[in-house]
Symmetry: C2
Subunit: 192 residues, 2 copies
């Protein structure tokens, strides 16, 4: 998505440690009309696939998922909550996730009552790098028996293995911008 690549080049910040910050428009401050553009692209790509529920992870996926819902008949958005690894409940689907960014472990939790076997789910997230969070979400949906129609990601670090991990499980992953390289002087390269 050309306009997204331009936005990342203009407003994204590359920090030491392979960090790409887009908190200016996506995950701290939200450029709401731009997020609506992103959502419309997911709407176009997954049009006609019978999606009836959008899933994401708190907190940075919520606005994107909410905006995307309007393209799928105002489908409900369910966001997985991050909890301590000790958290367990029989009413909750859980998946263990390791965060390489924060170097800690946590659980993704989704109340069972919000997923059913008849659901056709679009998973939305802002970033895909190692794929830990996205993989956790797919595990939760698999456990529920619902169908994953596809995954919509705003920014994929294509040089990390997360995309391959999820695609090798057989899922369609659409990333609106695929970063192929970042340099310490702030240059960002995208897949042609």
């Amino acid at each position: 998505m050309k306009i997204l690549e331009d936005k990342i080049r203009a407003e994204g910040v590359v920090l030491p440690g392979d960090i790409l910050k887009v908190d200016n428009f996506l995950n701290h401050q939200i450029d709401t009309s731009f997020v609506r553009l992103i959502a419309s692209e997911f709407g176009r790509i997954f049009y006609g696939t019978g999606i009836n529920k959008i899933m994401t992870v708190e907190a940075s996926g919520i606005a994107i998922a909410y905006a995307t819902s309007q393209y799928f008949n105002d489908a409900p958005v369910v966001y997985a909550k991050k909890g301590a690894v000790s958290t367990m409940s029989k009413d909750v689907y859980s998946a263990d996730v390791h965060s390489y960014t924060h170097n800690n472990d946590y659980k993704l939790n989704v109340a069972k009552k919000f997923l059913s076997k008849n659901d056709r789910i679009l998973i939305i997230d802002d970033f895909l790098a190692t794929g830990e969070a996205l993989n956790g979400l797919t595990q939760i949906v698999e456990e529920s028996g619902a169908t994953i129609v596809g995954c919509g990601v705003v920014v994929e670090k294509a040089y990390q293995n997360g995309g391959k991990l999820i695609r090798d499980k057989g899922y369609q992953v659409v990333s609106l911008a695929r970063v192929t390289a970042m340099s310490d002087d702030g240059q960002i390269e995208f897949e042609d």
Copy 2:
């Protein structure tokens, strides 16, 4: 807001420990068209007040704030991030918050670059009870020199002291549903 009270009566769940769960439509699963109705009410109430930025706290305030933005010329949404109390940075406004629900302390953090003295801010949150989070947000905005036009809350537990705390600081707090009592058998009463 009558339709909100009806929704809470129909779908809200009262749990021991004075807990009101509305995770069916507001803060785990999101009823997106209903959140749009809530947002339109904030749009009506704060119309013409020159709001140019919406602030909230991750994660449950984000969808409501995002939806509200469209009534204020797609004003950017800035959500405060919850961090460990040890987190400190000179580039960040911080406020200490105690959570009575989870019985822990945390910091609200907002990057300084996202607040300016010229900003006219609407603060949005899903719940107001002891007022800890909302108070933290107001402290952050005060430190930035921006103007708080008002606070829009979806559900206020009017029998707790948070509303008074914020109003006594001189801020307008609009709560779309004001709960006056909850009983263990699940009855919920609202202010007339």
